[in-house]
């Protein structure tokens, strides 16, 4: 069967020379929730914007349900739904009016449109508030309305750019429930981007780790974590006359020879040490370091997380990334900040 999304060697270089996406390839099967996990500036939004016809690619091949995206933009627009990181609803219109407007723009016939509107209001638990202006909604409700407007025309695949960024943890977990419901009840294929490890882990059947415009690895969260194998001992060092980097480097040399250690990755504050049985290895690790006079400031032992997978493939922890300045603010015109 044809995959819902097929991407081959997709590349985007912005006019200013920024190589936002560098020859990425992946495919998404029908009914899958597929995620792009990566830090700010990784190229997630750029990829999504090309797929939803809002941005021209530099080169490569993109197909949605077998259709070349660039050659058939209008046909593709009928197959896809989109919800951006910003909530794209009209605050002056009621929830129902927002949905009806969006449906009219797809030229849906009246009966179908009204039936679908009711269906989505129910599905998103907004039926009781359908007549209220979206501006009076809570953050979680606006987000759900935004999702619903993207689904009015019964798309085959839904694109979500950072769907839960800006939501509090409770609303985030809440939205996951809705997304899973959509995925199951409507057999909806979902492509989402996120920089939340937990979100990717919880929601995605498969995910790609993207960093600096490149896909580093693709697999199910389980597969990716299993590739690391065993347990992870996370060692953090503190400045104590010797820099953290120096201590990490020495520790890496010391531990590198130990037979019970299967791998080591470095990050800014310390090391990830991989081993088959963490419980037994901890004591040995500490003894080895102690013998060289290296003091561990903080130690934790855990199963591998996507954070560790990310470190392994990119050489940095996703949380280490300082939040990048949003380019749109920079381009906000002669008067600086907008809004």
């Amino acid at each position: 069967m044809t995959p819902v999304i097929e991407v081959q060697n997709l590349t985007k270089t912005y006019p200013d020379g920024t190589q936002a996406v560098r020859s990425i390839s992946f495919h998404v099967e029908e009914g899958e929730i597929f995620g792009f996990l990566g830090p700010n500036g990784a190229g997630k939004s750029t990829t999504i914007k090309m797929l939803i016809t809002l941005l021209r690619k530099t080169s490569g091949d993109m197909r949605i349900m077998g259709l070349d995206v660039d050659a058939n933009p209008d046909a593709v627009r009928r197959l896809i739904g989109y919800a951006a990181q910003e909530v794209g609803v009209d605050d002056d219109l009621t929830a129902r009016e927002n949905l009806l407007l969006q449906g009219e723009l797809f030229h849906m016939d009246r009966n179908t449109l009204h039936r679908r509107t009711d269906e989505l209001l129910n599905l998103m638990d907004l039926a009781g508030d359908a007549h209220r202006p979206a501006g009076s909604f809570s953050g979680g409700m606006r987000k759900r309305l935004d999702l619903a407007t993207g689904l009015i025309h019964q798309p085959r695949v839904l694109f979500l750019d950072e769907p839960t960024t800006g939501l509090d943890p409770q609303n985030r977990a809440n939205l996951w429930v809705y997304l899973e419901r959509l995925n199951k009840q409507e057999n909806l294929t979902i492509f989402l981007t996120t920089h939340y490890m937990e979100e990717a882990d919880k929601l995605c059947q498969r995910l790609a780790i993207i960093d600096q415009g490149q896909i580093k690895t693709i697999g199910s969260p389980r597969q990716l974590k299993q590739e690391i194998g065993g347990d992870v001992i996370i060692l953090r060092f503190a400045n104590n006359g010797q820099s953290v980097a120096q201590q990490s480097e020495q520790a890496q040399t010391v531990l590198g020879d130990a037979p019970f250690i299967s791998g080591i990755d470095r990050f800014d504050e310390g090391l990830n040490v991989y081993t088959r049985n963490g419980g037994e290895a901890v004591a040995d690790v500490l003894r080895l370091l102690d013998a060289r006079g290296l003091r561990v400031a903080q130690l934790s032992l855990s199963n591998p997380s996507l954070d560790d997978v990310f470190l392994k493939h990119t050489g940095s922890k996703i949380r280490d990334e300082a939040p990048m300045q949003n380019w749109r603010n920079v381009r906000g015109g002669p008067f600086g900040r907008r809004r």
Binding site: M65, R77, L79, G88, L101, E104, G333, R338
Partner: protein, 293 residues
């Protein structure tokens, strides 16, 4: 399964009326927004309304003084000034056209529209038609206020002091010219908004334009009362031509400068406004296309 568009149940070809339906949907949205936030309608009315009533009183005597009455077409100053106030309202209000687009751009609403298979220009057209409706309502409010302020109690009860030379057709034609003026400004404002993408810039530019344009035109006084240098500027100010055309259509030939011919007043106003509106709209459409692709 055959996974081409046919399987999605949509016709690939656009229906002939599609563009009109899309524009209509977006126009309805604009009107609904206006109805929910009428402050946008009143906001740009406040200052012009104060001007109308204040200046209407202050200069009333002058307009009646011997020698002057002729130049004001035998009308009250209030009536003479009203067309200028209509354009002032439109000038103030035009800033809103751009602000609406910027807020759609920032909120992500525009992105959402752009992922629907609609004609891009329907977005712009729906927006501009909504703005024109607002301007039309504002112009009608000013005309009504002028009419009401011109009513006097006399021997025979309530009397009109303002006479509309061509009645309703003249008033409608005047509104048409005012709208053409509004169309030009909406085009200008959309261009500014999409180029700067800044609320502040858009707001400032529309406000900076208003007063200088008004003061260097025949808005307050007939041209012949202005100092020579100002007359020279007023003669290249499109506002002068627009205001003269409005006065002519509302109050008849006696309200325009002596010696000018009615046909050429209307003709030159139409020509100038049509040319400027086309240029501004093309510029607006161009910057819109740049933003949306």
């Amino acid at each position: 399964m055959n996974t081409t568009t046919a399987s999605a149940g949509f016709a690939l070809r656009r229906k002939p009326g599609a563009f009109i339906n899309e524009t209509w949907s977006l126009y309805r949205r604009a009107i609904t927004k206006l109805a929910r936030r009428p402050v946008i309608l009143y906001f740009s009315l406040v200052q012009p309304m104060v001007w109308l009533l204040l200046f209407g009183q202050i200069f009333e005597r002058i307009a009646r003084a011997p020698g002057f009455a002729e130049a004001f077409g035998g009308q009250s100053y209030l009536a003479f000034f009203a067309p200028a106030v209509i354009l002032q309202t439109i000038l103030f209000g035009a800033g809103q056209s751009g602000l609406g687009l910027i807020s759609d751009l920032d909120s992500g609403f525009l992105s959402k529209l752009l992922t629907t298979p609609i004609n891009r220009l329907a977005i712009l057209l729906g927006k501009i038609l909504g703005d024109m409706t607002r301007m039309l309502m504002q112009a009608v409010i000013i005309l009504l206020a002028t009419f009401l302020a011109g009513l006097r109690f006399g021997d025979g009860g309530l009397q009109m002091t303002i006479t509309y030379a061509y009645g309703l057709p003249g008033i409608l034609a005047a509104l048409g010219i005012a709208l053409l003026f509004g169309l030009m400004l909406a085009g200008l404002n959309v261009t500014v908004a999409l180029t700067t993408r800044s609320n502040e810039a858009t707001f400032l530019i529309s406000n900076f334009l208003t007063l200088p344009l008004l003061f260097t035109s025949s808005a307050q006084l007939p041209l012949e009362f202005l100092p020579g240098w100002l007359q020279a500027i007023a003669k290249v100010n499109p506002l002068t031509y627009t205001i003269d055309a409005l006065r002519l259509l509302l109050y008849g030939p006696s309200s325009i400068p002596a010696g000018s011919n009615a046909g050429s007043v209307i003709g030159s106003a139409l020509l100038i406004l049509l040319a400027l509106a086309s240029i501004m709209l093309l510029a607006g459409a161009r910057s819109f296309r740049r933003v949306t692709k």
